[in-house]
């Protein structure tokens, strides 16, 4: 269908659209140039709505602003690419010609590599490292000189092509580009990387923008007016934090030491054979040239974290300019860390305090430390090392050094000598944790004028601007309009025996609570058709409660109705379990999947249609509050952003709960029951996303198991009735006519509003004229008040009318 938003013609590839002002708000943001946070119910075609508006915007206005669409997982990226492809096909049909348009997806080398032996490596970082050693600049130089070196054919072939035209126009899904690459013997990864500047739409993972180690190289050429969209962004703060945090263990230090020794050996080797190269590097460093562009090229050797601009202009400090000096410097730093790891007590300290102590014992100053990562990259390049994967741990240490010396605030070092409080054998880990999500994302907000953050579950919305340190133009949560009640959210607070149920620490292991949860599970297993998903707050609790249920015979009861499958921390096992689950749901046996609210399943797996008719959330999924890292973060949030501990914990728990609930509802023809089973949910209801909260009847917020079951029965029966799709028209989806009608209505309302406003104004003028003598209190006051009620739009309109 085709319609206009203001003056912008939008082509939408489906005949029906979900009503709402999502598109309008989005356009407003783009027009105004600013950031926005939008919460839109899951399964309502958020992606296609976004894409069709932005593509229309891009094609219509002369700036042709580029779209950068970030998603979390590879499958989501692929999904978005497929949507984009169908959108472009539709546009071509409607417009009668193919537009000058390129859309590309980018993912890691591991997924895009074609090299016969490299692509078989299991770990992503090994693939990266091996690829780099085949494609690095000096390798090519050597080859040109006629030396025999290994290179990658797929990469070399690219050089023969026109650099801005590596693939034809069109939308390339990951699958598509892999096939194209195989056909034309060109590397899909580098094709995508190099074409990024010439694309209209780029779809890739968060990390390419947020992880400072990658962002610099992958995303530096993107211009300021790009439109950046973070989809499924409810966890974006954690992604930011993870991208800047590192853990250092004794083992990694040991391997880093080995790396230093290798470096040392290489240096002496080179000093004998090819002194000139080292000398060249040294001279460059003296001049402060640092080969900045070289290092930042796409095939740069190692990844450096971003540094503040002023640092980039500085020259490398004199005491690490020489290779051997730098190696000694690294060695001292590593030995120092090793000594620190020997302490058998938990220590938490700030970077300045760490630096002070470091300086006292090793005479290492802050400034050379800041240059550590960059200096290492330069050295590795000079030495022309090819087996970079061996230097990974060393690089981690160097990155840590750079970060700790760069940021005084927002980071904390926590040394934990033992894995748990009861452990006897020490296994020290030095956590260098980032506490401030705003640090990683700041460059994105600084650089791009429009950033859209959107997800199905982002309540409360104001939390995000606060935590990420930005301001919004639009900040909106959209409700869902439904032709019939297609999902039934409930809060169960009591068992059938009226005893309160909760997973709060005090009572979670009481037999009565466990039994009540068990009954809840078996009752719902009995009445739910096909698939059912259950979420627990943690693996630990899941394990203990399952074994207790086993003892109580509850699992046997469930077993009569459903197959029982359990998520484990092991990804392979879990995917096997999921496969079995789907088979069992599809063939009518029915199954129940027991998983964890913060696990893999809760984030990325959809349980649409019969794969999930009931989701049962057992307990409020709070984070493990004894974690020192979490405590530090809570303190930081309170100190810096005035977010109270309990507010954050509860926000975090509820977004995970909402995420779990959203798993079963993946579209408007889908239906499902959502059960929140914990007494404490009752008070947290307001923190659920608007679309869930609105659908929750007041009668459903404080139920006992038996009430919930009978209500669910009724719901399922009503869902069993046939419901022709066209009944949804006009209510939960709109066709062209509805849209037109709505538009008309809006316009009519607008006119009424304007006339009213005008009348008001006139009346006010009269009032003012009359009300000089203080006696006009009542009337005059009223008008003045209503003046405040008018918003700016109206005012602008009013002026326009006056001018006419």
């Amino acid at each position: 269908m085709e319609f206009n938003i203001d003056d912008l013609p939008v082509l939408f590839p489906y005949p029906r659209i979900y009503p709402g002002i999502y598109m309008c708000d989005l356009k407003k943001t783009l027009d105004a140039g600013g950031h926005c946070v939008l919460e839109m119910p899951s399964g309502t075609g958020k992606t296609i709505t976004l894409l069709s508006l932005i593509v229309a915007y891009q094609q219509y206005y002369p700036e042709h602003r580029k779209l950068i669409y970030c998603s979390r997982t590879m499958s989501e990226i692929e999904k978005a690419l497929v949507e984009l492809k169908s959108l472009m096909k539709f546009r071509a049909e409607r417009l009668g010609h193919d537009e000058e348009f390129r859309g590309l997806g980018l993912t890691s080398r591991k997924n895009l590599c074609l090299h016969p032996s490299v692509k078989r490596e299991k770990s992503g970082s090994v693939v990266d490292a091996r690829c780099r050693s085949l494609t690095a600049g000096f390798v090519r130089e050597k080859k040109e000189k006629g030396e025999s070196v290994d290179t990658c054919l797929y990469h070399d072939n690219l050089d023969a092509l026109e650099p801005h035209n590596l693939v034809p126009n069109g939308v390339w899904t990951l699958d598509g580009i892999l096939r194209y690459g195989e056909e034309h013997k060109q590397c899909p990864y580098f094709t995508a990387r190099r074409m990024m500047q010439f694309c209209n739409v780029i779809i890739y993972s968060y990390h390419y923008l947020l992880d400072p180690k990658i962002a610099e190289r992958v995303s530096k050429d993107l211009s300021k007016d790009c439109i950046v969209v973070f989809d499924e962004a409810h966890n974006i703060d954690n992604v930011c934090i993870e991208s800047l945090s590192t853990d250092i263990t004794e083992d990694s230090l040991r391997r880093a030491t080995r790396g230093v020794q290798n470096l040392q050996a290489k240096i002496s080797e080179m000093e004998e054979s090819d002194q000139k190269k080292l000398q060249d590097e040294y001279e460059k460093l003296v001049e402060g040239l640092r080969g900045a562009d070289e290092a930042r090229r796409e095939d740069a050797f190692m990844a450096n974290p971003v540094l503040p601009d002023d640092l980039l202009k500085d020259a490398v400090p004199g005491n690490i300019r020489r290779a051997e000096h730098f190696v000694g410097f690294l060695k001292r730093f590593i030995e120092y860390l090793k000594t620190r790891m020997k302490v058998r007590q938990v220590i938490s300290e700030t970077p300045p305090s760490f630096l002070a102590h470091l300086k006292e014992y090793t005479f290492i100053e802050k400034k050379p430390l800041r240059f550590c990562a960059e200096r290492l990259t330069s050295l590795v390049r000079t030495l022309e090392l090819t087996n970079i994967e061996d230097y990974q741990p060393l690089q981690e240490v160097a990155t840590f050094a750079t970060l700790v010396a760069t940021y005084e605030k927002g980071f904390l070092l926590i040394l934990e000598p033992y894995e748990s409080d009861t452990a006897e054998v020490p296994n020290p880990v030095l956590h260098f944790t980032c506490l401030d999500a705003a640090i990683a994302i700041k460059p994105v907000f600084d650089r791009f004028s429009s950033v859209v953050i959107t997800s199905g579950t982002m309540s409360p919305l104001e939390m995000y601007p606060k935590m990420l340190g930005f301001t919004t133009v639009v900040q909106e949560s959209y409700a869902m309009t439904l032709a019939r009640r297609s999902f039934l959210p409930m809060i169960v607070t009591r068992g059938s025996d009226q005893a309160a149920i909760s997973t709060s620490f005090k009572i979670r292991n009481e037999p009565s609570v466990v039994r009540n949860y068990g009954n809840l599970l078996s009752e719902f297993a009995r009445i739910t058709p096909d698939g059912m998903v259950v979420f627990f707050p943690s693996y630990l609790y899941m394990e203990s409660i399952i074994s207790m249920w086993q003892g109580m015979g509850i699992l046997d009861e469930v077993w009569r109705y459903k197959l029982i499958l359990v998520e484990t921390p092991d990804a392979q096992e879990t995917s096997l379990a999921l496969e079995t689950y789907r088979t069992a749901c599809a063939n009518g046996r029915g199954a129940v999947m027991l998983c964890v609210a913060r696990g893999k399943v809760s984030e990325g797996i959809d349980f649409d249609h019969h794969f999930g008719r009931t989701v049962l959330c057992i307990g409020v999924p709070f984070q493990y509050t004894e974690s020192r890292i979490l405590k530090a973060r809570l303190e930081f949030l309170r100190e810096t952003y005035r977010i109270r501990e309990n507010d954050f914990l509860s926000f975090d728990a509820m977004r995970h709960a909402a995420q779990c609930l959203g798993r079963v509802l993946r579209g408007k023809d889908d239906y499902g029951i959502m059960v929140l089973a914990d007494r404490r949910f009752q008070k947290k209801r307001a923190q659920l996303p608007k679309w869930i909260n609105q659908a929750m009847m007041d009668a459903d917020v404080n139920m006992s198991t038996d009430m919930a079951v009978s209500s669910a029965r009724r719901f399922l029966r009503s869902m069993g009735q046939a419901f022709p799709a066209d009944k949804q028209d006009g209510v939960s989806v709109w066709t062209m006519e509805h849209l037109a009608a709505h538009k008309e209505k809006v316009e009519r309302e607008r006119i009424v509003e304007l006339t009213l406003a005008r009348e008001k104004e006139e009346a006010m003028m009269v009032g003012n004229r009359n009300g000089g003598g203080g006696g006009g209190g009542g009337g005059g006051g009223q008008w003045v008040e209503s003046d405040y009620e008018m918003d700016e739009d109206d005012e602008a309109e009013m002026m326009a009318l006056d001018a006419v």
């Binding site: 004199g318 000594t339 002070a356 509050t625 008070k683």
Partner: protein, 359 residues
């Protein structure tokens, strides 16, 4: 109610005492061949003369009676008991390098501000680094030369070195003080936040209480049932009050405040407002205790001009002296002492810490 985050924001323990580092099996003294297994508290020492390791027993055995030769075959150094310390680093080469650096840093102590251009500063840094490198890794000749340079530089720049040293110390002092202040402020904010949460909880409990009062007063039978729950609320309120008291006790800092400045009008006070009346206890009139009484009359104790009351007063004074003085806190902002972390970390790692500071 979310689970109460145990003492929200409480930092991980920062203070600690040196704990013995669990032994690894292959710890063995190269001199007497004792293994850790036989002597769990074995401690290894080195002497910066030659950096040869040996156990504390050996050191005591060999060097208590004055200087002696290093027991290592082929090492002819003469060592003294005083020179031994435990090593900070596991890698003794680094230990030695750092010792050299300490010497060099004491002499070459210019800072960036002393230079006109960044280039000069970097060149200076490299010069120092080259020198250090020669001292650490250089062979005979180079090393000797570097030593000479070091000595010469020291002689030539005496005044400057002294000046820089003082400035450096001042800078450190300032940084330390700033860190201390920041930490204090953070602590205060933490306490305030705690109090706020507590207050809120109390308010909530109070309003619930009021509600219950209303119900209890209701004429029908519901009051009796509801009252049962009441005990819990009261307990909660008590707990809350206790917690607040806890918080109150945390900010004991007020004790350290000096006496209020005198008003300009007051009579002249030679002691500048110091009040000698004991504030923490009161001396009773006649202290009677059989154990003490005997001194009152014992000829051996009673001397001319000596009042027994004086003696009890003094005993009491000594018993209470020092309360309200927080050595840790004073150390933090104190002079010549490292900040708390540094002191504690050092002691945690090994006893070396202190010794190194004295160097």
């Amino acid at each position: 109610m979310p689970p109460k985050p145990a003492a929200p924001g409480a930092p991980a323990r920062n203070l600690f005492h040196p704990l013995p580092i669990p032994p690894s099996a292959d710890d063995m003294c190269p001199v007497c061949k004792t293994i850790r297994y036989l002597n769990r508290d074995m401690e290894f020492l080195i002497n910066p003369e030659c950096y040869h390791t040996m156990c504390l027993n050996c050191v005591n055995r060999l060097f208590t009676d004055g200087p002696n030769q290093c027991p290592y075959a082929g090492c002819s150094r003469t060592l003294r008991r005083k020179g031994f310390r435990s090593a900070f680093f596991g890698d003794l080469a680094v230990e030695r390098e750092v010792d050299v650096r300490r010497r060099v840093a004491a002499v070459f102590n210019r800072v960036e501000d002393d230079f006109e251009t960044a280039r000069d500063w970097d060149n200076y840094l490299q010069m120092v680094e080259d020198l250090t490198f020669d001292l650490v890794h250089g062979t005979g000749e180079k090393r000797g030369e570097a030593e000479k340079v070091l000595v010469r530089w020291e002689g030539e720049h005496k005044g400057e070195i002294e000046r820089n040293r003082r400035a450096g110390r001042e800078r450190e002092e300032q940084a330390r003080r700033r860190m201390g202040l920041e930490k204090d402020a953070a602590r205060e904010r933490r306490v305030a936040a705690l109090r706020e949460v507590e207050e809120e909880r109390r308010e909530r409990a109070a309003s619930k209480e009021a509600e219950l009062d209303g119900i209890a007063a209701a004429p029908d039978g519901r009051g009796g049932v509801q009252l049962k729950r009441r005990g819990q609320v009261v307990r909660a309120v008590e707990a809350a009050a206790a917690a607040t008291a806890e918080v109150g006790r945390l900010s004991i800092r007020g004790l350290k405040e000096k006496g209020k400045p005198r008003g300009a009008e007051g009579p002249y006070d030679p002691f500048g407002g110091v009040d000698f009346a004991p504030s923490r206890y009161r001396l009773g009139e006649g202290l009677a205790h059989p154990q003490v009484d005997k001194y009152r009359f014992d000829q051996g104790h009673v001397t001319g001009g000596y009042s027994f009351e004086e003696w009890t007063a003094r005993a009491m004074y000594e018993a209470f002296a020092g309360l309200g003085v927080f050595v840790e806190d004073e150390k933090e902002a104190g002079i010549g002492l490292s900040s708390r972390e540094i002191a504690t970390i050092a002691s945690g790692i090994a006893a070396v810490g202190d010794k190194m500071e004295l160097d």
